[in-house]
């Protein structure tokens, strides 16, 4: 069961009488839904209690935060991307919002693979699968990081070949082309037996060919999509771009229609499952993404829109929608728009 309502009291254990009453009614309501709708799913032989996954780069910096997101209902978690060496990333502002979404140029700040291997210990105790996100500048770096993290019990490896705002990585170094995608995926395939998810860019005119190249090289799923752009926000009073790196990836509501279209195209192009990411913050968004062809969905910016328990909320809303529309499981809606 995906609900852990006792965790509503996480901030100081101060659940008031009224909140306790509300929690009890919610538990009752969820229990009655859960008897009818099955949200569990198996993704590349990994069992998930529900199809919501924490996207990479949002809160996935420490083991403690992963645990907290799990307590708030996520079906699986992705850590923030890790490189061989530590990186400080770009200067602030690194994350800002606008009317229709978020702009970020964090610049892949991360403590490097050795510190990450120390940080992400005892992952089984978290209770839900944890996915490693692995980045590199050279093709071989991906392999090195996978090896550096090999003692940690990750459930899968995600390789983002799609970041739009970090020199040396992703789009800024041509990693998302079908050729590079094939090479990098093949190298990682040799380095691990874990399922590999290749994360692609919504910008790519070669999206489907890149996905096919990943599938041919042994990828087990496609994560679609990373942030789009880059975009820019200018403070007109300062007459300067706002982000420290000037440009950054666009996520959230603005990205959703693009992400849905990417997943729709990919569903026809590859046989392996698709993890649909981009602008999902409600159960209806999640179902829309699944109808386009996603087997499970990722949530990032949704944490900003609706709080850390967005995973629980989205799962609840999916269950309600499915129940209302006469489905026992969301698996029946995957790809339905394609007939």
């Amino acid at each position: 069961m995906f609900l852990h309502l006792q965790d509503e009291g996480y901030n100081g254990n101060k659940l008031s009488g009224r909140a306790r009453g509300k929690a009890a009614t919610l538990i009752y309501r969820f229990k009655s839904i859960m008897q009818k709708v099955d949200l569990s799913v198996t993704l590349c032989s990994i069992p998930l209690r529900n199809p919501t996954i924490l996207a990479s780069g949002i809160l996935g910096t420490t083991r403690a935060l992963l645990k907290r997101v799990a307590e708030n209902g996520a079906g699986a978690l992705t850590i923030k991307s890790i490189s061989t060496e530590p990186r400080e990333g770009h200067n602030n502002p690194t994350v800002i919002t606008f009317e229709a979404g978020m702009l970020n140029a964090v610049g892949y700040s991360n403590p490097g693979m050795h510190a990450a291997a120390r940080e992400f210990s005892d992952l089984q105790e978290i209770g839900v699968p944890v996915i490693a996100s692995v980045i590199g500048t050279e093709h071989e770096d991906f392999m090195r990081v996978v090896e550096g993290l090999s003692k940690i019990q990750f459930s899968a490896i995600e390789i983002p070949l799609s970041c739009p705002h970090t020199p040396g990585f992703g789009l800024l170094s041509g990693q998302g082309t079908p050729e590079s995608t094939f090479k990098i995926t093949s190298l990682v395939r040799k380095a691990t037996k874990l399922p590999i998810f290749v994360k692609l860019s919504p910008n790519s005119p070669e999206l489907c060919t890149a996905a096919k190249a990943a599938e041919d090289a042994g990828a087990d799923a496609i994560t679609a999509v990373n942030s789009m752009g880059p975009g820019m926000a200018i403070n007109i009073d300062a007459q300067r771009p706002v982000l420290g790196f000037k440009v950054g990836g666009v996520t959230g509501d603005a990205l959703r229609p693009i992400a849905v279209r990417c997943v729709y195209d990919l569903y026809k192009a590859v046989k392996i499952p698709i993890i649909g990411v981009g602008g999902i913050s409600t159960g209806r968004h999640a179902i829309e993404m699944m109808m386009a062809g996603a087997s499970v969905i990722g949530i990032g910016t949704g944490v900003y829109y609706r709080g850390i328990d967005v995973f629980r909320k989205v799962s609840e809303e999916m269950a309600l929608w499915l129940q209302k529309n006469g489905y026992n499981t969301f698996r029946d809606i995957i790809g339905v728009v394609h007939d």
Partner: protein, 255 residues
């Protein structure tokens, strides 16, 4: 709310000590002591600062010169503009009728200054390395001061002063901001004497609104779940007083 800085004009600058300056700017809107703003210097960087003065429609920020950003900040004059966004985070939960004690270590005093007037019965303890670093000496006449080098007040730390005061009197609540080891020691004392306690933590802040995960302290995001935490939370946070996180995201022994 849209999380982007907007430009405001600095209207006054006060020199507090050789290394700290207070910048005043117009601001209307609610603000709880302990909350913070992100201050943007275009093309340079953006960093967190708490409010140290609330005066009608003006707020003040007291800035200690530490590195590149705060050096550039110190070059700003009345009439210059800076970007701000916020207020962010959870401030102090003021219990005005309790007999309380404020404990500020170094620049941490800035975060506590705005609550002095709101408490009815308050004792202030302030500590610094040396006398020239002590803040707001004209503003708050009646403080228990201490310095590491003994140049003013008691020679020793705020923790020593607190222990001495507790031999003669009782506090019902303590508010603290300063070096984390200091705040940790005070937490132990509060546990022993059964005193309510709130402390404001410092962690590396990137987004400021709870999405990047940079400011974690044992699963709590300092920027949105804090920076002020209550004793009940502090004792559950294994990293409090022990581990902090660098700009890369590495967890290291707290300096």
């Amino acid at each position: 709310m849209i999380e982007q800085p907007r430009m405001i004009n600095i209207c006054d600058v006060w020199e507090e000590t050789p290394d700290t300056k207070t910048f005043f700017f117009p601001f209307e809107g609610p603000f709880t002591p302990g909350q913070f703003f992100m201050i943007w210097i275009p093309l340079l960087d953006e960093k967190p600062f708490t409010i140290s003065y609330i005066q009608e429609e003006f707020l003040g920020i007291t800035v200690l010169k530490r590195g590149i950003f705060t050096q550039k900040f110190h070059e700003k004059k009345a009439g210059d503009s800076i970007g701000i966004r916020g207020p962010y985070g959870k401030g102090f939960e003021l219990q005005t009728d309790l007999r309380s004690c404020l404990i500020g270590g170094g620049i941490g005093m800035a975060s506590l200054a705005t609550i002095v007037d709101r408490l009815h019965n308050v004792t202030i303890i302030q500590g610094a390395k040396t006398s020239s670093e002590l803040l707001y000496r004209k503003r708050f006449q009646d403080m228990n001061l201490c310095t590491d080098d003994g140049t003013l007040g008691y020679t020793g730390t705020t923790v020593d002063v607190l222990n001495a005061l507790l031999e003669k009197q009782r506090f019902q609540k303590i508010y603290a901001c300063g070096p984390e080891r200091m705040m940790y020691k005070i937490s132990e004392i509060c546990k022993k004497h059964d005193i309510e306690y709130e402390a404001s933590l410092e962690r590396y802040i990137k987004c400021g609104f709870g999405v990047c995960g940079q400011c974690d302290c044992s699963g709590q995001r300092t920027c949105i779940d804090g920076p002020v935490f209550h004793q009940q939370e502090l004792i559950r946070m294994a990293d409090f007083g022990k581990i902090s996180i660098t700009k890369t995201g590495e967890r290291v022994i707290h300096p």
